[in-house]
C-alpha cells in the first residue's frame, strides 16, 4: 500500500489543461443554474391565478443546471477506464439515482417552504440509499432509510411543526424562507468546493490510482470475506452444512444409476469443523474454499464451499464493526447518551423562579405573607 504519496495533487500543482477546463466549465454551468434557481420566485402565492404560471427564471435555471450536470456526467464517464479502456456501457442506474438525488438536493436548498425542503431531503436519502445498493453496501442502504428517513427526518419535521409560524394570509411564506442570503457568493463558494473536489477526483493521476486499486480491490473483497467467515465458527459450520447438503445430493445423484432409492434421504449432519494447525479452517480451491469437517459418526469429509455462499454484506459489516473498531463502537454509544442528556437539558423549559420559590425548593422556610402558596403555616 503506497499511501505515502497520495495521488491527489494540490491545486497549486495543477495545470489547467483542456481536461481540467472541461470539468471547471461544467461545474461553473451547473453552479450558475443553481444560482438562478435560488432567486426568490416572483410568483406571489396570494394570487391564485399566479399559482400555475411558469416562472421563466426558474425554467432557465433548471435547464442550465441539468445541462451542467449532463456535461459533468459525460466528462466523468469518459474518464472512467477499465484496464486502460474507457467503459462502453453507460451505467444507467447510477445515473438515474444520481439525477434524483441531485434534483432533490437542489430543490431542498431552494424551496421556500421548510416542510417541503425536509421532504425533498427524504428523496435525497432514498436516492442515496439506491446508490449504496449499487455500490454493494446493502446494510448501510437500509440502515440509512430507517435511521435517516425514518428517525432523524421525523425529528426535523416535529421541530419544524413546533417552531414554524403559520404563513400569514396574503403574505405567504416567511420572509426569511423566501429570500436567500447572499445567494451569488454562496453559490460561488459551492462552485470552488465542487471544482476542487472534481479536480481531485477526476484528474488523470487519481483515475489511474483508482483503476489500479480497483483491480485488486475486487479480489481483496472476496479474500477478506472468506477471512471473516473463517473467524465466525458458528456461521462457518452452518455454511458448511448447507454446502455439504448440496454436495451430498450431487454425489448421490451421480452414483445413483444403480440405486435410485436413496436420493431423497437427507444428508448426514456435520458435527464440527476441523481446524488446521494455524487456527484457520478454510483452504483454497478453485472458485471457492474447502473445509474439512467431522460427521456425527467420527468420519471426516471435505466440503467445498463455492464463492456464492459467502456471508452477506450485513454480517460482514457487523464482524468488521466489532472486530476492527470496538473502541469506536463504545465511543459512539457514549456520544449518543451524551446527546440524549444534552437535548433534554437544552430543550427543557426554563422557569424563572422568584426568591421565595427558590427558598422553598432549597427546603428553607418561605417568607411569603400573602396568598395561599407557601406562606407561614
Amino acid at each position: 500500500m503506497d499511501f505515502a504519496s497520495p495521488p491527489f495533487h494540490t491545486l497549486a500543482q495543477a495545470t489547467l489543461g483542456p481536461e481540467a477546463i472541461a470539468l471547471l466549465s461544467a461545474s461553473a454551468i451547473s453552479a450558475a443554474g443553481l444560482a438562478l434557481l435560488m432567486q426568490p420566485s416572483r410568483k406571489s402565492s396570494s394570487n391564485p391565478s399566479d399559482k400555475f404560471r411558469l416562472d421563466g427564471l426558474r425554467i432557465a435555471g433548471t435547464v442550465i443546471a441539468l445541462a451542467g450536470f449532463a456535461m459533468l456526467l459525460v466528462e466523468v464517464i469518459k474518464r472512467a477506464t477499465t484496464d486502460g479502456e474507457a467503459s462502453t456501457i453507460p451505467p444507467v442506474f447510477p445515473m438515474i439515482f444520481g439525477t434524483i438525488a441531485l434534483a432533490g438536493a437542489a430543490r431542498m436548498v431552494t424551496h421556500p417552504k421548510p416542510v417541503f425542503a425536509a421532504l425533498y431531503f427524504i428523496l435525497v436519502v432514498i436516492a442515496t440509499a439506491g446508490m449504496f445498493l449499487l455500490l454493494g453496501a446493502e446494510f448501510m442502504a437500509f440502515a440509512l432509510i430507517i435511521v435517516y428517513a425514518g428517525a432523524i427526518l421525523i425529528t426535523y419535521m416535529f421541530v419544524l411543526m413546533l417552531a414554524q409560524q403559520s404563513p400569514v394570509e396574503g403574505v405567504g411564506d416567511a420572509w426569511y424562507d423566501r429570500v436567500p442570503r447572499e445567494s451569488i457568493s454562496a453559490v460561488f463558494v459551492g462552485f470552488v468546493m465542487l471544482a476542487t473536489l472534481a479536480d481531485a477526483y477526476f484528474s488523470g493521476t487519481t483515475q489511474k490510482f483508482l483503476a489500479d486499486r480497483r483491480v485488486d480491490g475486487e479480489t481483496r473483497s472476496v479474500e477478506s470475506a472468506w477471512d471473516r467467515l473463517d473467524a465466525m465458527p458458528k456461521l462457518l459450520l452452518e455454511t458448511a452444512r448447507d454446502a455439504y447438503a448440496t454436495q451430498w445430493k450431487a454425489e448421490r445423484a451421480a452414483a445413483a444409476t444403480s440405486a435410485t432409492a436413496g436420493i431423497d434421504a437427507a444428508a448426514p449432519t456435520l458435527a464440527s469443523i476441523v481446524r488446521k494447525a494455524d487456527g484457520t479452517a478454510l483452504s483454497r480451491m478453485d472458485g471457492g474454499r474447502s473445509v474439512e469437517a467431522k460427521l456425527a459418526d467420527g468420519n471426516s469429509v471435505v466440503v467445498s464451499i463455492p464463492d456464492t455462499m459467502l456471508p452477506d454484506n450485513s454480517r460482514q459489516v457487523g464482524v468488521d464493526l466489532v472486530s476492527k473498531f470496538p473502541a469506536g463502537l463504545e465511543i459512539a454509544g457514549v456520544v449518543l447518551l451524551m446527546a440524549l442528556f444534552g437535548a433534554v437539558i437544552l430543550a427543557r423549559k426554563q422557569i424563572e423562579l422568584g426568591e421565595d420559590e427558590r427558598r422553598g425548593l432549597a427546603g428553607m422556610r418561605r417568607i411569603t405573607v400573602d396568598g395561599e402558596a407557601g406562606g407561614l403555616r
Partner: protein, 122 residues
C-alpha cells in the same frame, strides 16, 4: 464451469449484483461532490436555522457516499463501518441541534438566523 461463472459481468454474477465498474464509482464520487456543494450552498444561503441544519445532514450524506465509493474501490468494508459512525454522529447532532433550535426559537419567536446576528464579532 468456474470459468463461465467468472466471465459473467459483475452486475449479474450471483455473488453480488453490485457493480464496481469505474463509471459507477466515478458517478458516485461526482454525485457526492455535488451533494456536498449543494449542502454547503444551502448552509451559507438559507436563513432558516432548521434548514441550515438540514443542509449539514446533506453534507453528511455526501461524505457517506464518498466513503462507500472509495471503500468499494479498495475492496474494504471499513468505509461502510465508518458510515455507521457518521449515522451515529448525525443522529446525535440532530438531537442537540434541534434542542438548540427550540431553545433559540423560544427566545426570539423566529427561526431567522439573522435574529442572532449580534452574537458575531464586530
Amino acid at each position: 464451469m468456474n470459468e463461465a461463472l467468472s466471465s459473467l459481468p459483475t452486475a449479474v454474477s450471483p455473488l453480488t449484483f453490485a457493480s464496481s465498474d469505474a463509471a459507477t464509482i466515478n458517478i458516485a464520487l461526482l454525485v457526492s461532490a455535488l451533494l456536498f456543494a449543494c449542502g454547503l450552498v444551502g448552509f451559507l444561503s438559507r436563513r432558516n436555522m432548521i434548514i441550515m441544519f438540514l443542509c449539514t445532514e446533506l453534507m453528511f450524506q455526501a461524505a457517506a457516499l464518498a466513503m462507500i465509493a472509495f471503500g468499494k474501490v479498495h475492496g474494504d468494508l471499513s468505509g461502510q463501518v465508518f458510515v455507521i459512525f457518521i449515522l451515529t454522529v448525525a443522529a446525535a447532532e440532530a438531537a442537540l441541534a434541534l434542542g438548540l433550535v427550540v431553545l433559540l426559537y423560544r427566545r426570539r419567536e423566529t427561526l431567522d438566523s439573522e435574529a442572532w446576528s449580534e452574537l458575531r464579532e464586530a
